[in-house]
Amino acid sequence: MDRLFEFMLPEAKSPTADSTDALFHFINEVSLIFLIGITFALIYFAIKYRRRSEDDETPVITHNNTLEITWSVVPLLITFVIFGWGYTGWLNLKSVPDNAYEIQVSGFKWGWNVKYDNGAQTLNEIHVPEGRPVKIVLQSSDVLHSFFVPDYRVKHDVVPGRYTYVWFEAEEVGESQVFCTEYCGTGHSDMLAKVIVHTEEDFQTWLEKNGGGVSGTPVEQGEQLVQLQGCTTCHSDDGSRLIGPSFKGLWESEETLSDGSTVTVDENYLRESILNPGAKIVESYDNVMTPYEGRISDEEITNIIEYLKTLK
């Protein structure tokens, strides 16, 4: 039986998960006892008191105060225990230790942009040190998302216009799956990420190597930006069709728009399509892209355009 219950949950990889798991098992066990009792009573009564003749007479039993109070109060007490247990476990999930390492995670349609304290950035990969509390500060640049790591039993909605957070402490080196659990449109089920746990030493090395953010020539910076901003989630660089038009061969091409007019892809069209994508939608594509107005600097736009020019 224990094995069944353990099978139901993924392996716990954060100390905050222990209380959650224990309560999960407790409720399962109590429920199972009640369910077996109910099922047994149903079957037993159905057989023992089966109708033998249409003239069967049944006793008049209207109520029984002792019995009814018992089966009201006992479950009530059990639920009080469950409430208290769940409440304390939840308080623990809300109380971030003072020494937690902070990582900024921004959800967008459809990916996770991750920023570290030294300026390093990643897309859909959250690198964390082992054995140190990590606080993930969440924000959304468009609609609701939800940040869920089953291995750590943490989840929080990612709400536009406000900050939310989760914290955990990775117990072992390895990878854990991150899901988006608040429906956010076409790419919702592909909005996945990985928590990658390093030893403290490896993590520091990794941070230093990736610190400082984007760098290099404008074209190189543009190439890094389209990765980090999640552009490549929907726009391929090899001509294949994803949610949006491919970047390959886009520069100076003639595109037909959804209203039937045509446009030549130049700097101004690209700039407008980044800041306000809904203005001119290419025929046969949906208006689903998040506007980047306020999220990206002029210099970054210029670098991205320089990079797109190279994708012939």
């Binding site: 008191y49 049944t58 006793p59 109520h63 089966w71 009201s72 709400v159 659990t181 429906y183 089920s189």
Partner: protein
Amino acid sequence: MATAEVSNKKTLKVQRFKPSDNPSNTYLTDEKGVWAWMTTVDHKKIGIMYLVSVAIFFAVGGALALLLRTELLTPAKTFIEADTYNQLFTLHGAIMVFFVLVPSIPAALGNFIMPMQLGAKDVAFPKLNLASFYIYVAGAIFTFIALAQHGLDTGWTFYTPYSTESSSSVIWVTMGVFILGFSSILTGTNFITTIHKMRAPGITWGKLPLNVWALYATSIIQVLATPVLAITVLLLTMERWLGFGIFDPALGGDPVLFQHFFWFYSHPAVYIMIVPGFGIISEVISTFSKKTVFGYWAIALSSLAIAFIGFLVWGHHMFTSGQSAVATTVFSFLTFLVGIPTGIKIFNWIATLYKGSIKMDTPMIYVFIFLFLFSIGGFTGIMLGALSVDIHLHDTYYVVAHFHYVMMGGTLIALLAGLHFWWPKMTGKLYNEKLAKIASVFIFVGFNVTFLPQFVMGAQGMPRRYYNYVDQFTAFHQTSTIGSYLLGVGFLIILYYLMHSLFKGAKSPANPWGSRGLEWQATSPPDFHNFDHTPVVIHGPYDYHQPMEEFQLGLAVDTNGHDSGTAKEVVDKERDQWKNYSLG
């Protein structure tokens, strides 16, 4: 002729009216033709029209579910695109909630049965009742216009800001839901008035069938909660149409506010869907165990308790949303309180079986299935009410499985119990009991094969509303899909034997189950006015220790030569026997 004390004060002259097993006039033979049906104010015909509409919507919603399950056979694309999938699960949810579950028991079965259980000729406002039906139809038309345009891809919950930005037909559907809400409010008002004012002589609050108590509690929720839904969708429309910043942070609004509004209706709506089911369970379990319902007042009042506490727990849908910590704590606590009256009902129903005379006919089989599935739904609800555990389980398949156990394992199974129980009353025909039992096995097995694996994969982390999924969940999804096909077969068998019964079924006697319920003391199918006399009630609806004759009383008619007709002849023949009974 005899006299009966129907209350502390009144003494009425009564006589016995034994219902004929071969009625010459029924509501089906009166007022024939399509136009007569469409303009009828008869609560029975309106109930049937609701039932047919609900069945059609259920078929559509069910077909959508099968398409969804088929798509989920493989982790990546199986046969439809992501956008189509998102539309399908939205429609499945919206249709099942707004067009099937909410009106199913109250508007379809409740409309037909409730006035009869009160011994009334109709509901208090028959024309309003018909208007409710057409408002429901109008809401449906709006929704279908939306589908013909751009569909809907927001999920049935319409969460902002996605629903503000979505390019699908959000306004049409929310207007459809807005209109539909009025149907619900008017039906609730109608029922409350009917229950207060239209009870036959002798039906005190303590002799009210538990089905009526359940519908009473439901009606109160409908009248109080549904306007909030109307306000919410109106605000959403204003935001989309006129750019008012209410919920969208880009316009200065708050998306969490929308969730509060939405669940302030939609959580009580869960009780609009399930409480009427409780009523059916009480009726069927008493009839098929020939026994007084154990703890009548506990069951009656717990419905009202659920209706009341149900208004105070909406925030348990929002533990991860970013609502305040105090609110989260209070909502968790209150959520456990709403579980208690529900548990009390289950124990009372089981206690009713004790020393009963139990006959496992199809309606009773569905009651047993209900008790098993709904218990699982309840226990997993406790699981989700526990704060720390809910953080892990929220928005996963665990929640999907939980609410299917409650809504389908609860409401829909109760509806099936009620449909099989009252089918002979509604149609005057019997159905094939053997096929019905076979179908119930398909439903029970299919249901569990579909939804049990979802608890496991949900706890393992599988999020809901996912078009693609990671490989580790493949086996669970495939099992679940196979289960859904079994369910589909079960419902097709039901459709087959019910249609067969309708056209070629054996004739049903007035009271095939030997029930003491007042609705069974009318003919099957009932007369246009339900009873051709005014029923008088001296016993509770579950007093199986009292002779059947004493449940067939009506105000004595003056027979000085003015009365005629077949029904009266039966009465006259019975009258001599009747004199032998001495009444209070």
